[in-house]
Symmetry: C2
Amino acid sequence: MNLLSEFNHFKKPQLFEKLSEESQKRILECSVLKKYEKNRLLVQQGDTPKFVYLVMSGSLKTFRINDEGGEATIRMLEPGDTCMEAVMFMGGPSPINVQTLTESETLLIPERIIKTLVFEDTQFSVNLLRIVTRHYKNAMHQIDAMNIKSPLQRIGYYFLLKHIEQGNESLEFKLPFKKQMVANYLGMTPETFSRSLKQMRSMGVTVEEDKISLKDARSLCLFCDSDTAALCADHNKEDCQFCLLH
Amino acid sequence: MNLLSEFNHFKKPQLFEKLSEESQKRILECSVLKKYEKNRLLVQQGDTPKFVYLVMSGSLKTFRINDEGGEATIRMLEPGDTCMEAVMFMGGPSPINVQTLTESETLLIPERIIKTLVFEDTQFSVNLLRIVTRHYKNAMHQIDAMNIKSPLQRIGYYFLLKHIEQGNESLEFKLPFKKQMVANYLGMTPETFSRSLKQMRSMGVTVEEDKISLKDARSLCLFCDSDTAALCADHNKEDCQFCLLH
DNA sequence: CGGAGGGTTGAGATTCATCAACGCGTGTGG
DNA sequence: CCACACGCGTTGATGAATCTCAACCCTCCG
Protein backbone atom coordinates (compact mmCIF):
# COMPACT_ATOMS: atom_id res chain seq x y z
CA MET A 1 0.00 0.00 0.00
CA ASN A 2 1.97 3.00 -1.14
CA LEU A 3 -0.13 5.88 0.00
CA LEU A 4 2.69 8.35 0.11
CA SER A 5 2.30 9.04 -3.56
CA GLU A 6 -1.29 9.95 -2.85
CA PHE A 7 -0.11 12.86 -0.78
CA ASN A 8 0.91 14.69 -3.89
CA HIS A 9 -2.74 15.29 -4.61
CA PHE A 10 -2.98 17.71 -1.70
CA LYS A 11 -0.84 19.44 0.87
CA LYS A 12 1.36 16.94 2.65
CA PRO A 13 -0.17 16.02 6.00
CA GLN A 14 1.58 17.83 8.81
CA LEU A 15 1.55 14.53 10.66
CA PHE A 16 4.23 13.20 8.33
CA GLU A 17 6.36 16.31 8.08
CA LYS A 18 10.09 15.59 8.27
CA LEU A 19 9.23 12.12 9.46
CA SER A 20 11.71 9.33 8.77
CA GLU A 21 10.76 6.82 6.07
CA GLU A 22 10.93 4.24 8.81
CA SER A 23 8.27 5.91 10.93
CA GLN A 24 6.05 6.66 7.98
CA LYS A 25 6.19 3.02 7.01
CA ARG A 26 5.32 1.90 10.52
CA ILE A 27 2.27 4.09 10.51
CA LEU A 28 1.03 3.11 7.09
CA GLU A 29 1.56 -0.58 7.67
CA CYS A 30 -1.09 -0.78 10.33
CA SER A 31 -3.50 1.77 8.87
CA VAL A 32 -6.44 1.08 6.62
CA LEU A 33 -8.11 3.13 3.95
CA LYS A 34 -11.86 3.35 4.19
CA LYS A 35 -14.62 4.88 2.13
CA TYR A 36 -17.69 6.46 3.69
CA GLU A 37 -20.93 7.73 2.24
CA LYS A 38 -22.24 11.24 2.82
CA ASN A 39 -23.35 12.18 6.34
CA ARG A 40 -21.89 9.07 7.88
CA LEU A 41 -21.12 9.43 11.60
CA LEU A 42 -17.60 8.13 12.32
CA VAL A 43 -17.25 9.04 15.98
CA GLN A 44 -19.81 9.97 18.58
CA GLN A 45 -19.47 12.03 21.74
CA GLY A 46 -18.66 9.59 24.50
CA ASP A 47 -16.94 7.03 22.28
CA THR A 48 -13.44 6.02 23.26
CA PRO A 49 -11.09 7.16 20.51
CA LYS A 50 -9.75 4.34 18.37
CA PHE A 51 -8.26 6.00 15.29
CA VAL A 52 -6.78 9.15 13.93
CA TYR A 53 -8.60 9.99 10.71
CA LEU A 54 -6.58 11.36 7.82
CA VAL A 55 -8.83 12.74 5.10
CA MET A 56 -7.79 11.53 1.65
CA SER A 57 -10.79 12.84 -0.28
CA GLY A 58 -14.07 14.51 0.53
CA SER A 59 -14.68 16.51 3.70
CA LEU A 60 -15.58 15.94 7.34
CA LYS A 61 -16.65 18.04 10.28
CA THR A 62 -16.11 17.70 14.01
CA PHE A 63 -18.80 19.08 16.26
CA ARG A 64 -20.65 18.90 19.55
CA ILE A 65 -24.37 18.48 20.08
CA ASN A 66 -26.75 18.95 22.99
CA ASP A 67 -30.02 17.24 23.77
CA GLU A 68 -32.06 20.09 22.30
CA GLY A 69 -30.56 19.28 18.93
CA GLY A 70 -28.20 22.23 18.69
CA GLU A 71 -24.90 21.66 16.89
CA ALA A 72 -21.65 23.56 17.44
CA THR A 73 -19.10 22.97 14.71
CA ILE A 74 -15.53 22.75 15.96
CA ARG A 75 -13.63 22.14 12.72
CA MET A 76 -14.24 21.41 9.06
CA LEU A 77 -11.68 19.18 7.38
CA GLU A 78 -10.42 18.89 3.84
CA PRO A 79 -8.02 16.40 2.23
CA GLY A 80 -4.73 16.32 4.11
CA ASP A 81 -6.31 17.24 7.43
CA THR A 82 -6.45 14.93 10.42
CA CYS A 83 -8.73 14.69 13.40
CA MET A 84 -8.90 12.88 16.73
CA GLU A 85 -5.15 13.26 17.32
CA ALA A 86 -5.82 15.73 20.08
CA VAL A 87 -8.67 13.74 21.57
CA MET A 88 -6.39 10.75 22.09
CA PHE A 89 -4.25 12.67 24.51
CA MET A 90 -7.10 14.20 26.43
CA GLY A 91 -7.79 10.99 28.25
CA GLY A 92 -11.36 9.80 28.58
CA PRO A 93 -14.11 9.61 26.00
CA SER A 94 -14.34 11.80 22.93
CA PRO A 95 -15.90 15.22 23.51
CA ILE A 96 -16.74 15.49 19.80
CA ASN A 97 -18.60 13.85 16.96
CA VAL A 98 -16.99 13.28 13.59
CA GLN A 99 -19.13 13.09 10.48
CA THR A 100 -18.59 13.12 6.74
CA LEU A 101 -20.00 16.11 4.88
CA THR A 102 -19.61 14.46 1.50
CA GLU A 103 -18.65 11.02 0.29
CA SER A 104 -15.14 10.63 1.65
CA GLU A 105 -12.10 8.42 1.86
CA THR A 106 -10.13 8.47 5.07
CA LEU A 107 -7.05 6.70 6.35
CA LEU A 108 -7.66 5.11 9.75
CA ILE A 109 -4.52 5.19 11.89
CA PRO A 110 -4.92 3.05 15.00
CA GLU A 111 -4.53 4.62 18.40
CA ARG A 112 -1.84 2.16 19.41
CA ILE A 113 0.71 3.17 16.80
CA ILE A 114 0.16 6.85 17.62
CA LYS A 115 0.70 6.35 21.32
CA THR A 116 3.71 4.15 20.72
CA LEU A 117 5.38 6.41 18.24
CA VAL A 118 4.92 9.50 20.34
CA PHE A 119 7.41 8.06 22.83
CA GLU A 120 9.80 6.68 20.23
CA ASP A 121 10.06 9.42 17.64
CA THR A 122 10.46 12.97 18.87
CA GLN A 123 9.83 14.37 15.42
CA PHE A 124 6.46 12.68 15.49
CA SER A 125 5.55 14.07 18.88
CA VAL A 126 6.62 17.54 17.82
CA ASN A 127 4.45 17.19 14.72
CA LEU A 128 1.51 16.30 16.92
CA LEU A 129 2.28 19.23 19.16
CA ARG A 130 2.30 21.60 16.20
CA ILE A 131 -0.96 20.21 14.88
CA VAL A 132 -2.74 20.48 18.18
CA THR A 133 -1.46 23.99 18.87
CA ARG A 134 -2.72 25.02 15.44
CA HIS A 135 -6.14 23.66 16.29
CA TYR A 136 -5.99 25.42 19.60
CA LYS A 137 -5.13 28.70 17.94
CA ASN A 138 -8.13 28.30 15.69
CA ALA A 139 -10.28 27.59 18.69
CA MET A 140 -9.06 30.78 20.32
CA HIS A 141 -10.11 32.74 17.30
CA GLN A 142 -13.50 31.06 17.37
CA ILE A 143 -13.98 31.99 21.01
CA ASP A 144 -12.84 35.51 20.31
CA ALA A 145 -15.17 35.74 17.34
CA MET A 146 -18.26 34.72 19.20
CA ASN A 147 -17.58 36.97 22.16
CA ILE A 148 -16.54 40.21 20.61
CA LYS A 149 -17.15 40.09 16.88
CA SER A 150 -20.26 40.83 14.86
CA PRO A 151 -21.43 38.30 12.30
CA LEU A 152 -19.99 40.53 9.61
CA GLN A 153 -16.59 40.55 11.25
CA ARG A 154 -16.62 36.80 11.75
CA ILE A 155 -17.28 36.22 8.09
CA GLY A 156 -14.72 38.81 7.10
CA TYR A 157 -12.05 37.15 9.17
CA TYR A 158 -12.97 33.72 7.84
CA PHE A 159 -12.69 34.99 4.28
CA LEU A 160 -9.37 36.62 5.06
CA LEU A 161 -7.97 33.31 6.27
CA LYS A 162 -9.21 31.49 3.21
CA HIS A 163 -7.76 34.21 1.02
CA ILE A 164 -4.34 33.90 2.65
CA GLU A 165 -4.52 30.10 2.51
CA GLN A 166 -5.25 30.15 -1.18
CA GLY A 167 -2.17 32.12 -2.00
CA ASN A 168 -3.16 35.71 -1.40
CA GLU A 169 -2.73 36.84 -5.00
CA SER A 170 -5.95 36.14 -6.80
CA LEU A 171 -8.92 38.44 -6.28
CA GLU A 172 -11.17 35.44 -6.52
CA PHE A 173 -11.23 32.41 -4.31
CA LYS A 174 -13.55 29.64 -3.32
CA LEU A 175 -15.71 28.93 -0.34
CA PRO A 176 -14.65 25.37 0.46
CA PHE A 177 -17.88 24.32 2.16
CA LYS A 178 -21.60 24.80 1.86
CA LYS A 179 -22.82 28.11 3.23
CA GLN A 180 -24.92 26.37 5.84
CA MET A 181 -21.82 24.66 7.20
CA VAL A 182 -19.75 27.81 7.29
CA ALA A 183 -22.58 29.67 8.97
CA ASN A 184 -22.81 27.12 11.74
CA TYR A 185 -19.03 27.02 12.10
CA LEU A 186 -19.13 30.77 12.61
CA GLY A 187 -21.89 30.44 15.17
CA MET A 188 -24.77 31.99 13.25
CA THR A 189 -27.83 30.90 11.30
CA PRO A 190 -27.82 30.55 7.51
CA GLU A 191 -30.17 33.55 7.41
CA THR A 192 -27.84 35.94 9.16
CA PHE A 193 -24.97 34.58 7.11
CA SER A 194 -26.84 35.44 3.96
CA ARG A 195 -27.81 38.90 5.19
CA SER A 196 -24.26 39.66 6.25
CA LEU A 197 -22.98 38.70 2.81
CA LYS A 198 -25.26 41.35 1.38
CA GLN A 199 -23.78 43.95 3.69
CA MET A 200 -20.35 42.92 2.54
CA ARG A 201 -21.01 43.94 -1.01
CA SER A 202 -20.75 47.58 -0.03
CA MET A 203 -17.28 46.80 1.27
CA GLY A 204 -16.08 45.37 -2.01
CA VAL A 205 -16.66 41.70 -1.32
CA THR A 206 -19.22 39.83 -3.40
CA VAL A 207 -20.21 36.18 -3.26
CA GLU A 208 -21.91 34.26 -6.01
CA GLU A 209 -22.51 30.60 -5.45
CA ASP A 210 -19.23 29.56 -3.83
CA LYS A 211 -17.08 32.15 -5.60
CA ILE A 212 -15.84 35.08 -3.54
CA SER A 213 -14.66 38.13 -5.46
CA LEU A 214 -12.74 41.06 -4.02
CA LYS A 215 -12.81 44.56 -5.50
CA ASP A 216 -9.19 45.01 -4.56
CA ALA A 217 -6.48 43.17 -2.71
CA ARG A 218 -7.03 45.21 0.45
CA SER A 219 -10.77 44.65 0.80
CA LEU A 220 -10.30 42.17 3.61
CA CYS A 221 -7.54 43.96 5.50
CA LEU A 222 -10.19 45.53 7.71
CA PHE A 223 -10.67 42.16 9.34
CA CYS A 224 -7.01 41.48 10.05
CA ASP A 225 -5.38 41.49 13.45
CA SER A 226 -1.87 41.51 14.83
CA ASP A 227 -1.30 37.78 14.89
CA THR A 228 -2.92 37.09 11.55
CA ALA A 229 -1.01 39.86 9.80
CA ALA A 230 2.15 37.84 10.25
CA LEU A 231 0.75 35.20 7.89
CA CYS A 232 0.10 37.74 5.19
CA ALA A 233 2.66 38.01 2.42
CA ASP A 234 1.90 41.72 2.11
CA HIS A 235 2.35 42.34 5.78
CA ASN A 236 5.31 44.64 5.36
CA LYS A 237 4.15 46.48 2.29
CA GLU A 238 3.26 50.05 2.99
CA ASP A 239 -0.31 49.73 1.80
CA CYS A 240 -1.17 47.05 4.34
CA GLN A 241 -4.08 48.50 6.24
CA PHE A 242 -3.15 46.74 9.39
CA CYS A 243 0.27 48.30 9.38
CA LEU A 244 -1.26 51.71 8.80
CA LEU A 245 -3.11 51.37 12.05
CA HIS A 246 0.11 51.82 13.94
CA MET B 1 17.11 27.73 43.73
CA ASN B 2 15.13 24.78 44.93
CA LEU B 3 11.67 25.51 43.69
CA LEU B 4 10.54 21.94 43.64
CA SER B 5 9.64 22.11 47.28
CA GLU B 6 7.37 25.01 46.45
CA PHE B 7 5.26 22.68 44.36
CA ASN B 8 3.90 21.11 47.47
CA HIS B 9 1.83 24.21 48.04
CA PHE B 10 -0.37 23.37 45.09
CA LYS B 11 -0.98 20.64 42.55
CA LYS B 12 2.26 19.63 40.88
CA PRO B 13 2.55 21.33 37.52
CA GLN B 14 1.71 18.94 34.72
CA LEU B 15 4.76 20.27 32.95
CA PHE B 16 7.01 18.41 35.37
CA GLU B 17 5.05 15.21 35.63
CA LYS B 18 7.20 12.09 35.58
CA LEU B 19 10.07 14.26 34.42
CA SER B 20 13.61 13.15 35.25
CA GLU B 21 15.44 15.08 37.97
CA GLU B 22 17.94 15.92 35.26
CA SER B 23 15.40 17.62 33.04
CA GLN B 24 13.73 19.41 35.91
CA LYS B 25 17.07 20.79 36.95
CA ARG B 26 17.87 21.95 33.43
CA ILE B 27 14.61 23.86 33.30
CA LEU B 28 14.91 25.44 36.71
CA GLU B 29 18.49 26.46 36.21
CA CYS B 30 17.69 28.90 33.48
CA SER B 31 14.32 30.09 34.80
CA VAL B 32 13.70 33.09 36.99
CA LEU B 33 11.07 33.83 39.56
CA LYS B 34 9.36 37.17 39.21
CA LYS B 35 6.80 39.10 41.15
CA TYR B 36 4.16 41.24 39.46
CA GLU B 37 1.66 43.71 40.79
CA LYS B 38 -2.07 43.47 40.10
CA ASN B 39 -3.27 44.05 36.53
CA ARG B 40 0.22 43.93 35.09
CA LEU B 41 0.32 43.00 31.38
CA LEU B 42 2.93 40.30 30.80
CA VAL B 43 2.35 39.52 27.15
CA GLN B 44 0.55 41.44 24.45
CA GLN B 45 -1.10 40.23 21.26
CA GLY B 46 1.53 40.44 18.57
CA ASP B 47 4.51 39.94 20.88
CA THR B 48 6.87 37.12 20.04
CA PRO B 49 6.69 34.58 22.85
CA LYS B 50 9.76 34.55 25.09
CA PHE B 51 8.74 32.59 28.18
CA VAL B 52 6.42 29.98 29.50
CA TYR B 53 4.82 31.36 32.66
CA LEU B 54 4.28 29.02 35.59
CA VAL B 55 2.03 30.57 38.22
CA MET B 56 3.45 30.19 41.72
CA SER B 57 1.00 32.44 43.53
CA GLY B 58 -1.85 34.76 42.56
CA SER B 59 -3.82 34.43 39.35
CA LEU B 60 -3.55 35.39 35.68
CA LYS B 61 -5.81 35.46 32.68
CA THR B 62 -5.17 35.03 28.98
CA PHE B 63 -7.46 36.90 26.62
CA ARG B 64 -7.93 38.58 23.27
CA ILE B 65 -9.04 42.13 22.64
CA ASN B 66 -10.33 44.06 19.67
CA ASP B 67 -10.07 47.73 18.79
CA GLU B 68 -13.54 48.47 20.14
CA GLY B 69 -12.27 47.51 23.58
CA GLY B 70 -14.03 44.15 23.83
CA GLU B 71 -12.24 41.41 25.74
CA ALA B 72 -12.64 37.66 25.26
CA THR B 73 -11.16 35.62 28.08
CA ILE B 74 -9.50 32.42 26.95
CA ARG B 75 -8.28 31.01 30.26
CA MET B 76 -7.96 31.93 33.91
CA LEU B 77 -4.92 30.53 35.73
CA GLU B 78 -4.27 29.56 39.30
CA PRO B 79 -1.08 28.41 41.04
CA GLY B 80 0.39 25.38 39.27
CA ASP B 81 -0.99 26.39 35.87
CA THR B 82 1.15 27.40 32.92
CA CYS B 83 0.53 29.52 29.88
CA MET B 84 2.23 30.33 26.58
CA GLU B 85 3.42 26.74 26.10
CA ALA B 86 0.99 26.30 23.28
CA VAL B 87 1.70 29.68 21.72
CA MET B 88 5.37 28.80 21.33
CA PHE B 89 4.55 26.01 18.93
CA MET B 90 2.05 27.96 16.91
CA GLY B 91 4.78 29.86 15.14
CA GLY B 92 4.42 33.58 14.72
CA PRO B 93 3.41 36.23 17.21
CA SER B 94 1.21 35.62 20.22
CA PRO B 95 -2.53 35.65 19.54
CA ILE B 96 -3.23 36.39 23.21
CA ASN B 97 -2.56 38.81 26.02
CA VAL B 98 -1.50 37.63 29.45
CA GLN B 99 -2.28 39.73 32.50
CA THR B 100 -2.20 39.31 36.26
CA LEU B 101 -5.57 39.43 38.02
CA THR B 102 -4.00 39.82 41.44
CA GLU B 103 -0.51 40.35 42.73
CA SER B 104 1.30 37.26 41.51
CA GLU B 105 4.55 35.38 41.42
CA THR B 106 5.42 33.48 38.28
CA LEU B 107 8.32 31.38 37.15
CA LEU B 108 9.60 32.50 33.75
CA ILE B 109 10.89 29.57 31.71
CA PRO B 110 12.78 30.73 28.62
CA GLU B 111 11.61 29.66 25.21
CA ARG B 112 15.00 28.20 24.34
CA ILE B 113 15.00 25.52 27.00
CA ILE B 114 11.46 24.51 26.09
CA LYS B 115 12.25 24.14 22.41
CA THR B 116 15.47 22.31 23.16
CA LEU B 117 14.00 19.90 25.65
CA VAL B 118 11.05 19.03 23.47
CA PHE B 119 13.45 17.29 21.09
CA GLU B 120 15.61 15.73 23.78
CA ASP B 121 13.12 14.42 26.33
CA THR B 122 10.08 12.60 25.04
CA GLN B 123 8.44 12.67 28.45
CA PHE B 124 8.63 16.43 28.31
CA SER B 125 7.08 16.62 24.85
CA VAL B 126 4.31 14.26 25.90
CA ASN B 127 3.65 16.44 28.93
CA LEU B 128 3.35 19.44 26.65
CA LEU B 129 1.05 17.51 24.37
CA ARG B 130 -1.21 16.58 27.29
CA ILE B 131 -1.30 20.15 28.53
CA VAL B 132 -2.17 21.59 25.18
CA THR B 133 -4.82 19.00 24.46
CA ARG B 134 -6.41 19.78 27.82
CA HIS B 135 -6.51 23.45 26.89
CA TYR B 136 -7.96 22.52 23.57
CA LYS B 137 -10.66 20.44 25.17
CA ASN B 138 -11.58 23.39 27.35
CA ALA B 139 -11.70 25.59 24.29
CA MET B 140 -14.09 23.14 22.64
CA HIS B 141 -16.39 23.38 25.59
CA GLN B 142 -16.24 27.16 25.45
CA ILE B 143 -17.16 27.14 21.77
CA ASP B 144 -19.94 24.69 22.41
CA ALA B 145 -21.18 26.79 25.32
CA MET B 146 -21.44 29.99 23.38
CA ASN B 147 -23.14 28.41 20.41
CA ILE B 148 -25.72 26.18 21.92
CA LYS B 149 -25.97 26.88 25.63
CA SER B 150 -27.98 29.47 27.53
CA PRO B 151 -26.21 31.63 30.12
CA LEU B 152 -27.76 29.46 32.80
CA GLN B 153 -26.37 26.30 31.27
CA ARG B 154 -22.94 27.82 30.85
CA ILE B 155 -22.77 28.76 34.50
CA GLY B 156 -24.12 25.39 35.53
CA TYR B 157 -21.47 23.57 33.56
CA TYR B 158 -18.76 25.82 34.93
CA PHE B 159 -19.92 25.14 38.47
CA LEU B 160 -20.03 21.44 37.77
CA LEU B 161 -16.40 21.45 36.68
CA LYS B 162 -15.33 23.39 39.75
CA HIS B 163 -17.29 21.01 41.91
CA ILE B 164 -15.58 17.99 40.41
CA GLU B 165 -12.19 19.69 40.61
CA GLN B 166 -12.64 20.43 44.28
CA GLY B 167 -13.23 16.83 45.17
CA ASN B 168 -16.89 16.26 44.48
CA GLU B 169 -17.85 15.50 48.04
CA SER B 170 -18.59 18.76 49.76
CA LEU B 171 -21.86 20.53 49.08
CA GLU B 172 -20.05 23.83 49.32
CA PHE B 173 -17.23 25.04 47.18
CA LYS B 174 -15.61 28.27 46.14
CA LEU B 175 -15.73 30.45 43.10
CA PRO B 176 -12.02 30.86 42.41
CA PHE B 177 -12.31 34.22 40.61
CA LYS B 178 -14.24 37.43 40.77
CA LYS B 179 -17.71 37.20 39.32
CA GLN B 180 -16.87 39.76 36.67
CA MET B 181 -14.04 37.57 35.43
CA VAL B 182 -16.08 34.41 35.37
CA ALA B 183 -18.87 36.22 33.55
CA ASN B 184 -16.55 37.39 30.82
CA TYR B 185 -14.93 33.97 30.61
CA LEU B 186 -18.38 32.53 30.01
CA GLY B 187 -19.12 35.13 27.36
CA MET B 188 -21.74 37.19 29.16
CA THR B 189 -22.02 40.48 31.03
CA PRO B 190 -21.81 40.69 34.83
CA GLU B 191 -25.49 41.65 34.80
CA THR B 192 -26.71 38.52 33.08
CA PHE B 193 -24.37 36.48 35.25
CA SER B 194 -26.00 37.92 38.33
CA ARG B 195 -29.51 37.42 37.00
CA SER B 196 -28.79 33.82 36.04
CA LEU B 197 -27.51 33.12 39.53
CA LYS B 198 -30.88 34.17 40.84
CA GLN B 199 -32.60 31.73 38.52
CA MET B 200 -30.32 29.02 39.80
CA ARG B 201 -31.63 29.30 43.32
CA SER B 202 -34.83 27.57 42.29
CA MET B 203 -32.66 24.69 41.11
CA GLY B 204 -30.98 24.23 44.46
CA VAL B 205 -27.83 26.21 43.81
CA THR B 206 -27.21 29.36 45.84
CA VAL B 207 -24.26 31.72 45.72
CA GLU B 208 -23.27 34.13 48.45
CA GLU B 209 -20.14 36.13 47.93
CA ASP B 210 -17.83 33.50 46.46
CA LYS B 211 -19.39 30.54 48.25
CA ILE B 212 -21.50 28.18 46.18
CA SER B 213 -23.89 25.92 48.08
CA LEU B 214 -25.77 22.94 46.65
CA LYS B 215 -29.03 21.63 48.05
CA ASP B 216 -27.96 18.12 47.22
CA ALA B 217 -25.12 16.34 45.51
CA ARG B 218 -27.10 15.95 42.30
CA SER B 219 -28.09 19.57 41.83
CA LEU B 220 -25.53 20.08 39.09
CA CYS B 221 -26.00 16.78 37.25
CA LEU B 222 -28.43 18.52 34.93
CA PHE B 223 -25.50 20.28 33.34
CA CYS B 224 -23.38 17.19 32.77
CA ASP B 225 -22.61 15.61 29.41
CA SER B 226 -21.17 12.37 28.14
CA ASP B 227 -17.52 13.35 28.17
CA THR B 228 -17.65 15.19 31.47
CA ALA B 229 -19.48 12.37 33.24
CA ALA B 230 -16.32 10.29 32.92
CA LEU B 231 -14.55 12.69 35.28
CA CYS B 232 -17.23 12.33 37.91
CA ALA B 233 -16.52 9.94 40.77
CA ASP B 234 -20.23 9.15 40.99
CA HIS B 235 -20.51 8.39 37.33
CA ASN B 236 -21.45 4.79 37.80
CA LYS B 237 -23.70 5.16 40.78
CA GLU B 238 -27.31 4.51 39.97
CA ASP B 239 -28.49 7.96 41.05
CA CYS B 240 -26.30 9.76 38.55
CA GLN B 241 -28.73 11.80 36.51
CA PHE B 242 -26.64 11.59 33.44
CA CYS B 243 -26.70 7.83 33.52
CA LEU B 244 -30.46 7.91 33.96
CA LEU B 245 -30.78 9.71 30.69
CA HIS B 246 -29.88 6.54 28.85
C1' DC C 1 -16.07 60.93 55.85
C1' DG C 2 -15.80 60.15 51.07
C1' DG C 3 -14.40 57.68 47.12
C1' DA C 4 -13.62 53.50 44.48
C1' DG C 5 -14.70 48.93 43.05
C1' DG C 6 -17.71 45.10 42.92
C1' DG C 7 -22.24 43.46 42.69
C1' DT C 8 -27.28 43.81 42.03
C1' DT C 9 -31.54 45.55 40.06
C1' DG C 10 -34.57 47.83 36.71
C1' DA C 11 -35.96 49.83 32.14
C1' DG C 12 -35.07 50.32 27.40
C1' DA C 13 -32.69 49.33 23.02
C1' DT C 14 -30.65 46.22 19.84
C1' DT C 15 -29.49 42.32 17.67
C1' DC C 16 -29.98 38.02 16.18
C1' DA C 17 -32.83 33.77 15.96
C1' DT C 18 -37.16 32.07 14.56
C1' DC C 19 -40.83 31.24 11.52
C1' DA C 20 -42.81 31.35 7.10
C1' DA C 21 -42.78 31.93 2.21
C1' DC C 22 -40.53 31.88 -2.07
C1' DG C 23 -37.09 31.02 -6.01
C1' DC C 24 -34.07 28.13 -8.16
C1' DG C 25 -31.66 24.03 -9.72
C1' DT C 26 -31.51 19.07 -9.57
C1' DG C 27 -33.05 14.54 -9.53
C1' DT C 28 -36.81 11.18 -9.90
C1' DG C 29 -40.67 8.70 -11.18
C1' DG C 30 -44.84 8.44 -13.69
C1' DC D 1 -41.32 14.94 -21.19
C1' DC D 2 -43.59 16.77 -17.52
C1' DA D 3 -44.76 17.07 -12.62
C1' DC D 4 -43.18 17.04 -8.37
C1' DA D 5 -40.39 16.94 -4.38
C1' DC D 6 -36.23 18.19 -2.21
C1' DG D 7 -32.16 20.72 -0.79
C1' DC D 8 -30.14 25.05 -0.59
C1' DG D 9 -30.23 29.79 -0.31
C1' DT D 10 -32.65 34.18 0.08
C1' DT D 11 -35.99 37.55 1.87
C1' DG D 12 -39.34 39.57 5.05
C1' DA D 13 -41.87 40.01 9.45
C1' DT D 14 -41.87 39.01 14.22
C1' DG D 15 -40.25 38.10 18.82
C1' DA D 16 -37.21 36.89 22.41
C1' DA D 17 -32.95 37.19 24.62
C1' DT D 18 -29.15 39.61 25.97
C1' DC D 19 -26.58 43.86 26.11
C1' DT D 20 -26.52 48.71 27.45
C1' DC D 21 -27.23 52.33 30.46
C1' DA D 22 -28.35 54.10 34.85
C1' DA D 23 -29.16 53.98 39.63
C1' DC D 24 -28.30 51.95 43.84
C1' DC D 25 -26.19 49.21 47.72
C1' DC D 26 -22.39 47.40 50.03
C1' DT D 27 -17.67 46.93 51.73
C1' DC D 28 -13.17 48.28 52.00
C1' DC D 29 -9.72 51.75 52.71
C1' DG D 30 -7.33 55.93 52.80
